[in-house]
């Protein structure tokens, strides 16, 4: 595999629910991005923007009936590149857990309550690596140890409810990395955890990516997570990517008003006393259809009549890596915001180290 071929190239991914009688709902609408080995790519946006649906579509975990998936997601597999979206279920079952793995949001509900942790780890070893008995148990204990679970041999026989929230998420991560997958998707892995545990889990994920060279797709609404972890960032809004950039330029010079709004809604310790937050006004419900213009327009402070004349295209902003979907981007007008945001990027980098 040549080094400049991305591990996973997602092109024009779209997912629509419903149909047959009712108008289908487009949850994801032409999203493209690529994942590279050893890199963390962020998928950012508020609830309902299509982040989780994107990840489930890539994993082939969407329900089989009533869902229409379009586009391509070409992954470099040991036997050559293949489109994940067109593979039969049987083949996807072989790939899930071995080549691509997923970590979910709520660690308690994501673990089977009546099966011991050890069994939930060994079943994946048995399935994909053919390990059984004591060998599988030993490997499971090693995996738990690797993700930072103390006294792993004893933990094997415990049930999910006997573990703390952070331990549960570590156990789920152990299951995800059990077969050294090339690609890992983490869907809001820290949302259900408290802040100190969040930091530990993110550090663990970062370590796994650097040590194993795994490509990690990080799905989150938390820009703090993005700043500390992600190399490349895709900002989604209403099922479409509205801005894509490497971390530094995104935090330093965000151009899409939605990205600017997201960054402005983070409480900051270095902000002057009494300065109000500037949240994005309205809610996702205020969307208009992308076909009518920019879906974000009703909530945008910068919108002009031009925004409502058809869907805005993705355009490059100077360099190839930084693209946005906006006809009236935040440029020099947003100088005030830019200066504060640049400091935020620096803070983000420092946290990273």
């Amino acid at each position: 595999m040549s080094s400049n071929t991305p591990l996973l190239e997602v092109e024009e991914l779209s997912v629509a629910f419903g149909g047959r009688g009712s108008t289908p709902v487009r949850a994801v609408d032409g999203v493209s991005f690529s994942l590279e080995e050893g890199k963390v790519t962020g998928l950012v946006g508020e609830s309902g923007c299509g982040k989780s649906v994107t990840s489930l579509a890539l994993m082939g975990l969407l329900p089989e009936r009533g869902v229409e998936v379009g586009g391509r997601a070409v992954m470099q597999l040991p036997k050559g590149p293949e489109d994940l979206l067109s593979l039969p279920q049987r083949r996807m079952r072989d790939l899930r857990g071995s080549q691509l793995a997923m970590i979910f949001q709520d660690p308690l509900s994501s673990l089977n309550p009546v099966v011991p942790i050890g069994r939930q780890v060994t079943e994946i070893l048995k399935r994909h690596r053919g390990m059984r008995g004591q060998a599988a148990r030993k490997e499971a204990a090693d995996l738990l140890h690797r993700v930072g679970i103390p006294d792993p041999a004893r933990r094997l026989d415990e049930y999910p409810h006997q573990l703390s929230g952070g331990m549960r998420q570590r156990a789920l991560i152990a299951m995800a990395v059990a077969c050294r997958p090339k690609l890992m998707i983490a869907d809001e892995p820290t949302t259900a955890l408290d802040v100190t545990i969040q930091a530990q889990i993110l550090e663990l994920l970062r370590d796994l990516v650097t040590e194993e060279g795994t490509a990690l797709l990080m799905i989150t609404h938390d820009l703090g997570v993005v700043a500390g972890l992600c190399d490349d960032i895709n900002v989604l809004y209403a099922g479409r990517a509205v801005e894509r950039a490497p971390r530094r330029p995104l935090f330093a010079e965000p151009t899409h008003p939605y990205t600017v709004g997201l960054l402005g809604s983070i409480p900051r310790l270095d902000a002057p006393r009494g300065e109000p937050l500037s949240p994005v006004r309205g809610s996702v419900n205020d969307n208009i259809d992308w076909t009518d213009g920019c879906a974000f327009a009703p909530r945008c402070d910068h919108y002009t009549m031009e925004c409502l004349q058809g869907p805005p295209p993705l355009v490059e902003r100077g360099d190839r890596d930084h693209v946005h979907r906006c006809v009236n981007p935040v440029g020099n007008a947003g100088v005030a915001e830019r200066t504060t945001l640049e400091t935020s990027a620096v803070v983000g980098e420092e946290e990273d180290r």
Partner: protein, 334 residues
């Protein structure tokens, strides 16, 4: 675990004590008495009084109750007014019949209800789902005695496929060991006895199974549907596990938890004897005897049987709780 069992068994004492008081009050309030059933309608009042006196029914309520309690503590449940035999003996001779019938009904209900409910959930909205949901509604709505009559008249009397009454055909000879006909037949290898006893159990068992079958089908369906949407099932799929592993270890294992409880509670009811079904099929079990005892105001039999049934119910519930704690580690921890 042992402490848990002992504690639960100790709970039997207040339960039975309370129940016995309730029973006593209830029986006192019943119009008529055993003398009405034992004596002809035109018997003179003096004869009635004499009989009441000889049965100890003329004593004040509290005296009656405490002498009853005193006897029970010595393990004596009294004797039937009608047959003169000890109540415990009457119970033990009839219990095997009811037990066999209850087990038959539960086996039918579980063997059909679990797969039916599971498949209905898997093919939600399909023809099988529709049939299972509709059929179980019908099963819950149909009175058991009516179904028993239908089966008896249709399959036994009209078509002659099954015997219509009793536990065994008169022509079949059996060796008695335990009183459980099927078990005895298996132990002595009298296969004709086993077959004949099973034929006799089939129709009353089927009639009795109707409601548990409907309940188990619906509960299994609802439970499987709920579990299939759980996050941990998605996790299992995300691990790439085989479909069958996901379905058994992750879906069924969890979906069966509430069903186990339901099966336990339903069995408790069945072991209490099916008064109407046993009467329709002249099945010599606890239910039909209670029916007769109620008519004859056989107080010792009624109190004794009901107390024994209550004790059995508590024990069955204990067994359900034990099996539940074996299946669900979250319960075990508490």
């Amino acid at each position: 675990m042992l402490r848990f069992i002992v504690r639960r068994l100790l709970q039997l004492i207040p339960t039975l004590l309370g129940l016995s008081i309730l029973l006593f009050v209830w029986l006192q309030r019943l119009p008529g008495g055993p003398e009405n059933a034992l004596l002809p309608d035109n018997a003179p009042p003096e004869q009635r009084e004499a009989l009441r006196e000889s049965l100890g029914l003329d004593e004040p309520f509290t005296v009656q109750y405490f002498s009853f309690l005193g006897r029970i503590l010595q393990g004596d449940l009294g004797a039937s007014i009608h047959t003169g035999r000890p109540v415990l003996e009457e119970f033990l001779t009839r219990f095997p019949a009811t037990f066999e019938l209850a087990v038959t009904a539960i086996v039918i209900a579980v063997a059909a209800g679990l797969p039916l409910g599971y498949l209905a959930a898997r093919r939600r909205g399909g023809a099988l789902d529709f049939a299972a949901v509709g059929g179980s509604l019908l099963g819950i709505c149909t009175p058991v005695f009516f179904l028993a009559f239908l089966l008896k008249v249709g399959l036994a009397e009209q078509l002659g496929l099954f015997p219509s009454a009793f536990r065994l055909s008169p022509a079949v000879n059996r060796t008695d060991i335990t009183g459980f006909f099927v078990l005895d037949g298996l132990m002595t290898r009298e296969w004709d006895v086993v077959w004949d006893a099973l034929l006799h159990l089939a129709l009353p068992g089927l009639a009795l199974a109707s409601i548990p079958l409907a309940v188990i089908t619906r509960m299994t369906r609802a439970s499987v549907l709920e579990v299939m949407g759980e996050d941990y099932v998605r996790t299992a799929n995300a691990k790439g596990l085989h479909r069958t592993t996901v379905r058994t270890r992750h879906v069924l294992r969890n979906a069966l938890l509430p069903v186990v409880t339901a099966v336990g509670l339903l069995s408790g009811q069945l072991f209490a004897g099916a008064v109407l079904t046993e009467s329709v099929f002249a099945f010599p079990g606890i239910g039909s005897f209670i029916y007769e005892a109620t008519h004859g105001r056989d107080y010792p039999v009624l109190t004794g049987f009901i107390l024994l049934i209550a004790a059995m119910y508590v024990v069955i519930n204990l067994l359900v709780d034990i099996s539940y704690s074996l299946l669900d580690p979250r319960v075990r921890a508490q």
